[in-house]
Symmetry: D2
Subunit: 266 residues, 4 copies
C-alpha cells in the first residue's frame, strides 16, 4: 500500500539479533511480588498453589514454543532455555523476550482462578530478559546458579518464618539468623528449635521445578478387538511419545544430564 512520508521513522528501530550458536536463556520475574504476594496473602515462605500456577504457566510456554528445551522455576521467576540453533524471531532479543513474557503472563492470569481462589483485582505482571551462553557448561551452570539460589533463599526463609511464627518480630528473626550464616547452623536451628528436618520438606520448595519433555514408551491401545487380534509382537505395540513433565531433581550433579540426555549435550 501507499507509503506515507512518515515511514522514515521505521528505520530508527535498532537491530537486536542475539549472537548465533549460543544458548538463549529467557528469565521472567514477577514485578514487585513482595507486594503482590502480600496483597493476596500467599503462604509464607512458600505457597504451593502459587508455585503450581507458575508451573502451569511455564508449561504453556513449552507447549507453544518447541525451541524451549528445558525450563526452571522458583519463587516468582522462571527461566526458559532455547536451543543454541533456534531461529525463533530471527533471534531478535526483544521479540523473544516479550513473546515469552507475554505468553507466560496470559496463562498466569487466565489460570489464576484454578489455583488461587481470591479473585484478581490488582493484576500480576512480569519483567523478562534474554541472556546468551556460549557453551554447554555455561548454560548448565546457569541452571545450577538459579537452583543454588533457590536452596539458599529457601533455607533462610524457612528459618525466618519459623522464628516469626514462634512469636519473634522480623527484626529479632533477622538478628537471630545473622549468627547462623553457615548452612549447617541453619539446618541445626530448624532441627533443634522446630523439630524440622530440612531435607524432608517438599522438594518443590527446596529445589524448585524443572520442566522438560520426557520420552516414554506407551503401549498402543488396541482400537478394537479386531485390531488386537492381529497380535503384533509386543515392541510393535509400543510407541515413543514425549510428555511434558515437572520434576524437582538437582541439576547440579552430572548425573542429571546423563539421565536426561539430548537436552544439553555434554
Amino acid at each position: 500500500m501507499a507509503k506515507s512520508k512518515f515511514e522514515y521513522v521505521k528505520q530508527f528501530e535498532q537491530d537486536d539479533k542475539l549472537l548465533s550458536n549460543c544458548w538463549i536463556v529467557v528469565r521472567i520475574d514477577g514485578r514487585a511480588f513482595h507486594k503482590f504476594t502480600d496483597a493476596y496473602k500467599f503462604e509464607k515462605p512458600n505457597d504451593e498453589r502459587a508455585l503450581r500456577l507458575m508451573n502451569h504457566a511455564a508449561m504453556a510456554v513449552l507447549k507453544d514454543c518447541p525451541d524451549v528445551v528445558i525450563a526452571y522455576g522458583q519463587s516468582d521467576e522462571y527461566s526458559f532455555i532455547l536451543r543454541r540453533d533456534t531461529d525463533l524471531y530471527k533471534r531478535r532479543s526483544s521479540k523473544i523476550t516479550s513473546y515469552i513474557t507475554s505468553l507466560f503472563t496470559a496463562n498466569y492470569v487466565h489460570a489464576w482462578p484454578q489455583f488461587l481462589y481470591t479473585p484478581l483485582s490488582r493484576l500480576p505482571c512480569f519483567d523478562g530478559r534474554c541472556v546468551c551462553y556460549p557453551t554447554d557448561e555455561n548454560v548448565k551452570d546457569y541452571l545450577s546458579w538459579r537452583q543454588a539460589d533457590c536452596h539458599v533463599n529457601n533455607l533462610y526463609n524457612t528459618c525466618f518464618w519459623n522464628l516469626v511464627k514462634q512469636g519473634k518480630s522480623h527484626t529479632e528473626a533477622t538478628a537471630r539468623l545473622a549468627h547462623t550464616n553457615s548452612e549447617s547452623k541453619k539446618n541445626e536451628l530448624l532441627f533443634q528449635e522446630f523439630k524440622t528436618n530440612y531435607n524432608t520438606l517438599p522438594e518443590i520448595f527446596r529445589r524448585g521445578s524443572i520442566i522438560l519433555w520426557k520420552n516414554s514408551l506407551l503401549e498402543i491401545q488396541a482400537a478394537s478387538a479386531a485390531a488386537a487380534a492381529t497380535a503384533l509382537p509386543s515392541q510393535q505395540r509400543m510407541k515413543l511419545t514425549r510428555q511434558l513433565t515437572v520434576i524437582h531433581e538437582s541439576v547440579i550433579p552430572d548425573k542429571f544430564w546423563r539421565e536426561y540426555p539430548g537436552i544439553v549435550p555434554s
Copy 2:
C-alpha cells in the same frame, strides 16, 4: 547470602540501557492475530468490542506507569510514548519492553469477559519492542506514521470486506482493488457501490485511539452547607484534575499538539 560458584554466569547479562534524552516508544502487537481474530470470530474489518478491550488494557498501562505521556492504538497494536527523561528501570530496554507488554497482556486477558463473550481457550499474546526518537518532531512523526497506517489499512479493508459481503471471493475483491490504488478511487468505490461515505464511519476505525491525561477544572463539591456558606470566590472552588481520556482526533496537524500542550513540547 552466600555466593555460589555459579554466580559468574550473572555477568553474561549484557547492558541494554537506551540512549539518554530520547523519547522511548514501546510498541506492542498481537501475536498471529490473523488466526486469533478468526478463532474468536471478530467482526470484519473492525470489531469495536475488541478495540475497546485494547483501549482498556492500554489505559491500565498509563495508570500504572506515570512516565507514559500518550498512547496510540489501532488494530492489534498499541504504542506507548515515555518521556524523554524517564528513568524507568534505568532505561533498560528489555525491562521496559517486557514490563509494558506483560502489563498490557495481563489486563487484556483479565478484562476479556467484560468485552467479548466467548470464553478464552487459546490465549492471546503480544510481542513488544522499544524504539528511541531523538527529537520532538521524530516522535510526532512516529505517531503520524501509525495513524496514517491505520487510515490506509482501514480504507482498504473497508472496501475489501464490503466487496466480500457483496458476494465476491477474496481473489476477486483483491483484483478489484488492484485498480483503485488511489485514495480517492477507494472513496468513490465505497460511495458508488455501497452508498457509504467513508468519512462518516466511526472515528475509532478511521483514526484509531489516542489515550492521554486531559486536564480539567472540576468544581469542588461543597462538603456541607456550612462550607458552601464560606462563600469562596468561584475560582477557588475549582481544582485542576487530570483524567485519562480516549480520543480519536488526527495527530497529524500541528493543531493537535497545540490543543494538548505539554505532551510533546513544540
Copy 3:
C-alpha cells in the same frame, strides 16, 4: 565467486548501526600517554609541538571526512563531531570509530618528524569510541565538557609543575594543592608565588584547539589585465571559500555558536 562452507561465520557479525538523527561524536585518546610522553620527554605540563602535531592529524581527518563539522582537542585526545544526518559507513559504529582513529594515527605517525625531532621507536597509538547525542544542546554541552576539563586540568597541572620546578617533590606538590581546591586559590598561588597571571598563558593550553571550516570572502585575482578591465562590480569579484582553521576560543558562551552559525544550529 564460489562460496565456501565456511561462509556461515560471516553472520556472527552483529549490527551496530548508531541511532538515526543523532549527533555522532568520535573521541580518540592516546594510549598510555603518561608513558609515551615521558619516553619522548614532552615538555610539562604542555608541549606545544605535540599539541600542534595533534592539530595537524585532526585537520587531516576533517579534510578526509566532510561530515565532520567541528573537532576539539586537548592533551592526548581529540573529538570529532559528525553531522546528525551523516550516512558515513551507514552509521556503523565500529567502522566510523576505527576509520577515524586509524586516519588520525596514520597522520600522527607520519607527521611526527615535522613536529618532534626525536625519531620514533615505540609507536603511539590511540583508542576511539562513538557517542550519540540527540539534541543540539547536548552536543554543545559535550564540547563544553571537554573544554571545561581542559581548563581544570591545565590550571592544576600548571600549578603542580611550577611547584615541582621550584624544587618540591611530587608528594609535596600534591599536598600543597590539596589546600587550594577552588579555582581562585590556584590562580592566586600562581600569581603570588610564580608571578604568573594564568589568563595570559597561551590559549592553546588553557582552552585547547577547535578546528572548523571558516567561511571567507576571497577577492578573485584577475587572471590578466584584460580580465581586470572588464570591471565587474566589486561583489562579483569575490568568491566564498572555506578554510580549515584552528582557533582557541571558548565554546561555552552562546556567543561562540552565533559567531559560527551553521555548525550546530540553535
Copy 4:
C-alpha cells in the same frame, strides 16, 4: 577535581562489552585499497613487499597484545584472534577494535619506508571490527573462511592479470573467466596458456600468512667457561622459548590444529 555541570554528557556513552567466554576476532581491512594500491603501483595481483609490510605491522600487534593467540592476513586485511577469556579493556568492543586498528596503522605507516620505496603522500588507513565466536569450531571455521577466500580470490586474480598482461582488456579478461567458474578450469587455463602450475606459486600468495608464537627449545649459551665446566645434564642446558613466527600452512585440515596445540583447543 571539580566536576562541571557538563559532566552529565558522559552518561550518553553506551556499554559495548562483548559476551563473556567467546573468542573475539578483530578484523582490520585497508580503506579503499583499490585506489591506494594503484596510487603506489603495487604489483598485481600480489605485491610481496606490501604483504611483508602487513605481516610486519601484524607482528607488532601480537608483540603488544599478549591475548592475541593467532593472526591471519591476506590482501589488505588482517584478523587477530583473542583468547576466549581475555579481559582486555574489560572486553569493551570499541576500545579493543580501535586500539588494534590504531596500533596496526601506526606500524604500517612507520615501517613503510623499509618495505616500499615510494615516499608516502596520501596515507593508508584501515577499518576494524570485532566479532564474537562461541565455540572452538566456529573460530577455526572463521580462519578457514578467510583462507578459502584468499585462495579463491588469488586463483581468480592470477588468471585475470595473466590475461591482461597477455594483452587482453579488463572486459575481455572478465569475459574469458566467466567460462571458467570451476577451480579446475582456472588451474587448466593457467597451465595451458601460461605454463604456470598454480600450486608452485608462492605460498604467501595462495594461502596468506599466519602469525603465531612457536615454542622452541634453545640451548642456553654458557656465559663463561667456568659455567660451562659445571657440566649440567643436557636437558638442563635447554630452555623453552617462544618465537613469533610467520607461516603459510593450510588451517583447514585438523592436522594444523594438532601441530599447533594450545592455540584453539580441540
